[in-house]
Symmetry: C2
Subunit: 215 residues, 2 copies
DNA sequence: CTATACTGACTGTCCAGTCAGTCATTAAAC
DNA sequence: GTTTAATGACTGACTGGACAGTCAGTATAG
């Protein structure tokens, strides 16, 4: 207990980095299984098998099935929003370009990646994990909507946009991205739509509505 | 097996109507429980208790838990879309009024009723019931989008709308309703938004975009 | 008395979480 | 350099509880 401990301390057999890497393997495996079966029907035996470890090993990294799910979600959110906060509100660009940049980011960093699946998983399981819904709301939704609202308000202030609907309800601007995400996972299989084209059409409509004069 | 069966058939002790009524009680109870816990975590003992019957009784009406879920969803969809197909495409009305009528219908017949919960349940469980997703797509989505597309195309043909984005992607028009639905069930509790006002803002934007001239 | 509706205790299965034991690695002792 | 001891990483058979579905038995209506 004294400051300079007498007890000889070997270097740990596994470094922290190695530990993190293995945890990531487990989280990746868990994402696959949870996506396939949903939280309740996912078996930890399957997660372990896919990660190439025994079930007991999971419990060296995570204290419960629920904690595994939460770790998985937490590891997949948050990151990109920070990047967005840095990048998008480029004061030099027009509000339109900022909006387009935001959508480009959405497409390349979320809709086009594994994060899309995490968001979907979160949407379908969130009602059973209220605390997680709150974290996601605070860490992603609120911050994302703040960025959007900022763009919209600056657009209005500069006279580039002539109405404030998006500043009041930034949700309206990203609604089609949500549809895209859900459509992909539910219906794309037997009724494919061109997501890119749809989002492009949305931006066209949105810009026309914002730049047009209210009647 | 012969056409005119010999076997005596008493009048059934319970009429078909009574049977249907009890089935409905069971489905109502099941909706409550499935909403609260999700499909996998819902216990049939709880469904039975809430319906005021014993668990065995459930199996006189429905052959399995999965069938119960499917019956529940099927009983809650389809109906309103038929009504909509009758009502909305009133050729006398302007395309704008038709769109507004459709949104009014959405608010009063779905977002404001128990059906909202059925849709939410379907969204969250559909990935585990692919066949049900297909039924819903065919019976609701396709028909709903067809109505929307009809309105949009007539609007363009009459010169009321000046662009065809909604005719091409009717999903864009209802996307905010989906956001409303999900927001209600996930975040409304701790970050309430005014759904009515949001949908009104959406319609404002949409009409301005459709009536404005493409640049 | 008979047919039907209903009941709820019971069974078989499934799986999260546990833990006694194995294996591999490194350090100390000689 | 070799043996022995200590440590941490990992394993997987096992347990306890939960719950879908069953069915022998009871109640009720005709």
């Amino acid at each position: 207990m004294t400051a300079g401990q007498r007890t000889k301390r070997r270097a740990p057999a596994r470094s922290e980095d190695e530990r993190q890497a293995k945890l990531q393997t487990i989280l990746d495996a868990a994402l696959d299984i949870f996506l396939e079966k949903g939280f309740a029907d996912a078996r930890l035996d399957d997660v372990a098998a896919r990660a190439g470890v025994a079930k007991g090993t999971l419990y060296l990294y995570v204290p419960s099935k629920q904690a595994l799910f939460e770790a998985l979600v937490r590891s997949g959110i948050g990151g990109p929003v920070g990047a967005l906060e840095q990048k998008v509100p480029d004061p030099a660009a027009s509000a339109e370009d900022q909006l387009r940049a935001l959508f480009h980011f959405l497409r390349t960093e979320i809709l086009g990646t594994r994060r899309r699946d995490i968001v979907r998983l979160l949407l379908t399981e969130a009602s059973r994990f209220p605390e997680l819904a709150e974290v996601y709301h605070r860490e992603v939704i609120v911050r994302g909507l703040r960025i959007l609202r900022g763009i919209a308000e600056r657009g209005v202030a500069r006279g580039e946009f002539h109405s404030d609907e998006i500043a009041r309800f930034p949700q309206l601007a990203i609604a089609p991205a949500l549809v895209a995400l859900l459509w992909t996972s539910l219906f794309q299989r037997f009724d494919p739509i061109d997501i890119e084209a749809m989002l492009e059409a949305h931006l066209t409509l949105l810009m026309r509505a914002l730049k047009g004069h209210p009647s």
